[in-house]
Amino acid sequence: MKSKFVAAGTAMILLFAAVTLVAHHSNAAQFDATKRVTIKGEVTKVEWTNPHAYIYVDVKDAAGKVVNYSLEGFPPNTLLRTGWSQKDLKQGDTISVEGCVSRDGSPNLLAREVTLADGVTKKWWGPMS
């Protein structure tokens, strides 16, 4: 019986694949899961939009130049169901973000974890499959 359950679970994965983790598109082509960075900056905009939510953050580099990063996340529905509130983020908040870098070097992160101004860390994106 148990093996049946396991078989069913496995078949589910094979049938529907990693579509189960991410709603809309694969990120492997766009982001490099092996290269992670942590950035800290000021929130300039938050988009609770489909198919993916975005946080935009101004980050100052070593030379003092400000770069605006976009942080791609789960769809809003998923974020709200996994403990996020739209009240968690507002323009001007300082947050730090751990994420996977963009392969093309553009200032976009697949933002895995966001540490909010109050120190609470939440997943903006789940495990990268």
Partner: protein, 270 residues
């Protein structure tokens, strides 16, 4: 020590006997005695309860299917990476559709950008069931309506075996006609448009794509099984093991308008 060991053995024996003789879990029924599928279900993905039980760690990618598509965040790419290298076990149900050579070759060549869902088209059947969003079933005596949060998909399925309405154009979700076989709802789905991806590695479908779905309750779980046929694409029917949909803690569906901010197409291409 001996007593403890004996006790453990006895408990194991008793529990196995009990388990073996446990009757099917009772199911909720409608006023007319049919299994009651009403409510919200989740086939895949992440709910408020965290990853559903159907999520298991990804298997290592098969070399042929890895590479640029290795992320496999959507149906198809990931399925290929996962299923392609699996060795079949004797008696095991197939894990991948048996594709004709040309279809296997074409599927292997598909890129993320070729996935209809990347462009916000509906995933079709059965891919939509595994999307990381809940679905809701509304049941009446002669039809069920399935509202899928993913890609604003809905289906109206007569359950009396009678097709509703006249001619309809080929579509992403096809035309569904259901009938009861005991406590199982069997839904015949035809009239697809050949623009969707099938399950697993199957990234090409024809207008002859045909799905037979079987829905039944097992206690508070919804057991979902499909048989896929496509004589222009497959070498024979594909009958994978059933999958289990569970009741998430969500009590409502939300909107998922994929076209709202689909801004990254250029970087998805590979």
């Amino acid at each position: 020590m001996f007593r403890l060991g004996s006790a453990v053995i006895l408990m194991l024996f008793v529990s196995s006997v009990l388990f073996a003789q446990t009757p099917a879990a009772p199911i909720k029924r409608t006023a007319d005695g049919k299994p009651d599928f009403s409510g919200i279900w989740q086939g895949g993905g992440i709910s408020a309860q965290g990853p559903t039980a159907n999520i298991v760690p990804a298997a290592p990618a098969a070399p042929a299917a890895a590479g640029a598509r290795g992320g496999g965040a959507r149906g198809g790419g990931g399925a290929g990476a996962r299923g392609g290298g699996a060795a079949a076990q004797p008696g095991a149900l197939p894990t991948q559709p048996p594709m004709q050579q040309w279809a296997a070759d074409k599927s292997r060549g598909m890129k993320n950008i070729d996935d209809p869902t990347v462009h916000c088209f509906m995933p079709g059947i059965p891919r939509v069931v595994g999307m990381p969003f809940p679905l809701e079933i509304v049941q009446t005596p002669n039809k069920i309506v399935i509202l899928y949060e993913a890609f604003r998909t809905f289906r109206v399925i007569p359950t009396d075996g009678k097709k509703v309405g006249g001619e309809s154009a080929p579509s992403f979700n096809g035309d569904s006609v259901g009938h009861w076989e005991g406590d199982t709802l069997v839904v015949d789905v035809t009239n697809f448009n050949g623009k969707i991806w099938g399950p697993g590695n199957m990234k090409v479908t024809s207008a002859k794509y045909h799905v037979v779905e079987r829905y039944r309750l097992d206690g508070d779980n919804l057991i979902y099984q499909v048989v896929i046929e496509d004589p222009d694409v497959l070498t024979g029917p594909f009958s994978p093991a059933p999958t289990t949909l569970r009741r998430p803690s969500e009590t409502r569906l939300m909107e998922y308008e994929c076209l709202e901010n689909n801004i990254n197409l250029n970087s998805i291409v590979q």
